[in-house]
């Protein structure tokens, strides 16, 4: 499985913010983690300060590292995960990130590490959902291999996978349209597209797709279309437990399966016609 951890940028700024944070709060565990971060950060140009007294210096890979060492990226992931709790109330915004940072005992200034439009928060969420989906599909596959579960038909598998993934949006459904529009911003498109394509590829992989010809593209394009349209329907759906959405999904998947059959039929018909014409040509020439 390709690990799609979205990693936020602005490392240097982040170090500076965290240092200010540690100065302000003088909280031991936080300070030690932020100290360690830029002691082991070769790119950090900030001069060393000593707000909390003598501390062993860390020389990156070679030097000693205490147990609560945490990379910048890990801290940012923790903040974003904590922020998700506040999204239903504040939306995908810097406020939610600030609230999340507060629950971790950080200053609200930690939200300054991220873009003000909430992009990283959304991308982090999407990446997390995709990972959860992969794990779910992996577990299901193990059950089938152990004989503890029935192997699903392709259309059933696709329906269940897309439904499982879309259900992860339910707690945030009110604010999801906002998230979708942010994901479509030009500076987010490479990342969001990347996350989308790898999720679709994952689903097909577990569905047992082994195509090595142009079908590889056709199948992924079709499933992407199904996923996106179902997601949009879900935004507008007010039926109990989104029944309408799942029915829409079922119909779209059925359409896709039919399309495959129809394509085959067209091909066989075409071949039969060609043979018929060749036969006619031979007859006429005789």
């Amino acid at each position: 499985v390709r690990c799609q951890l979205y990693s936020p940028q602005r490392a240097l700024q982040a170090s500076a913010v965290l240092r200010r944070v540690s100065d302000e709060q003088k909280k031991e565990p936080l300070a030690s983690s932020s100290q360690q971060q830029f002691d082991s950060h070769p790119a950090d140009h900030q001069p060393e300060q000593e707000p909390q007294g003598p501390r062993p210096s860390y020389t990156g890979q070679g030097g000693q590292e205490s147990e609560d060492y945490e990379s910048e990226e890990q801290l940012q992931h923790r903040i974003l995960t904590a922020a998700l709790e506040f999204v239903p109330e504040h939306g995908w915004t810097a406020e939610a990130i600030a609230e999340g940072a507060k629950t971790l005992g950080l200053s609200v200034a930690a939200a300054g590490m991220f873009h003000s439009d909430g992009s990283e928060l959304i991308l982090h969420f999407v990446s997390q959902c995709n990972t959860k989906l992969s794990d779910l599909l992996e577990q299901e596959q193990k059950l089938v291999q152990l004989g503890k579960a029935e192997k699903k038909s392709t259309d059933q598998f696709l329906r269940d996978a897309v439904e499982a993934r879309l259900r992860m949006l339910i707690p945030y459904i009110e604010k999801w349209p906002q998230a979708l529009s942010i994901l479509l911003l030009p500076h987010n498109i490479p990342s969001s597209l990347n996350l989308l394509t790898s999720m679709i590829d994952d689903i097909w992989q577990y569905a047992g797709d082994q195509s090595t010809d142009f079908n590889w593209y056709t199948r992924r394009a079709v499933l992407t279309g199904i996923y996106n349209t179902t997601e949009l329907v879900m935004m507008q759906d007010s039926s109990p437990d989104f029944e309408d959405t799942w029915r829409f999904l079922e119909n779209r998947v059925a359409d896709a399966m039919n399309m495959g059959d129809t394509a085959n039929q067209v091909q066989s018909t075409g071949e039969a016609v060609v043979q018929g014409l060749m036969g006619a040509a031979v007859t006429v020439s005789n």
Binding site: Q141, T212, D213, F214
Partner: protein
């Protein structure tokens, strides 16, 4: 013929641990495209020369290419590599090249074979070099496969020469043009 590897999807995760995905992706994608194209070239040659004296030898070379393609299909699934978008194009271009060169006669077909197989051997050689530089141990299986295939292609090249490829009309022009085309195909298939 290469033994069919039965691949359980769960083994894919293990295969993918710790490999240089971008490099392996490219290698498998372009090799798959190459074998696919070679298949189509021989198919085109057989369409024209199938019933001539060169038929059997072309068929034999074609059968080996079919085995190569089968192997790369398996590798593609195992390493979760995306096939090149240009496959439909190589389908037609390969067939046209094969048929076109065969219309120049048996020697023309052999000249085409020599040109293509030389390009492919060189290409496999540089891939072997890349993989050796990366990590010969980690990529042992892949290296073995590519080495084997490189030897097969070299053999095809020699067969082509044996069958009077060099006596083909406009041999050097033909060879240069085809090899240029191969270079372009390799460049594109690696990327898209």
């Amino acid at each position: 013929p290469a033994g069919g590897v039965s691949l359980r999807p769960c083994s894919t995760r293990a295969t993918l641990e710790g490999i240089n995905k971008p490099v392996i992706d490219r290698i498998i994608r372009v090799d798959h495209a190459g074998e696919y194209g070679a298949n189509r070239i021989y198919a085109g040659q057989m369409a024209v020369l199938g019933r001539s004296s060169a038929g059997p030898i072309i068929q034999q070379m074609w059968n080996q290419e079919k085995d190569h393609l089968k192997k790369f299909n398996e590798l593609m699934v195992a390493y979760r590599v995306r096939p090149t978008v240009l496959l439909p194009f190589w389908n037609i271009a390969g067939f046209v090249l094969g048929a076109g060169s065969a219309l120049l006669g048996k020697k023309g077909a052999m000249a085409c074979t020599v040109a293509v197989e030389e390009s492919i051997s060189d290409h496999y050689n540089s891939q072997i070099r890349t993989l050796m530089e990366e990590d010969p141990e980690k990529y042992k299986e892949l290296l073995q496969i590519i080495k084997q295939f490189r030897d097969d292609e070299r053999e095809h090249h020699d067969i082509g020469l044996e069958h009077d490829a060099e006596a083909a009309p406009a041999y050097s022009v033909l060879k240069t043009a085809i090899q240029l085309g191969c270079k372009a195909a390799i460049f594109l298939s690696e990327r898209i």
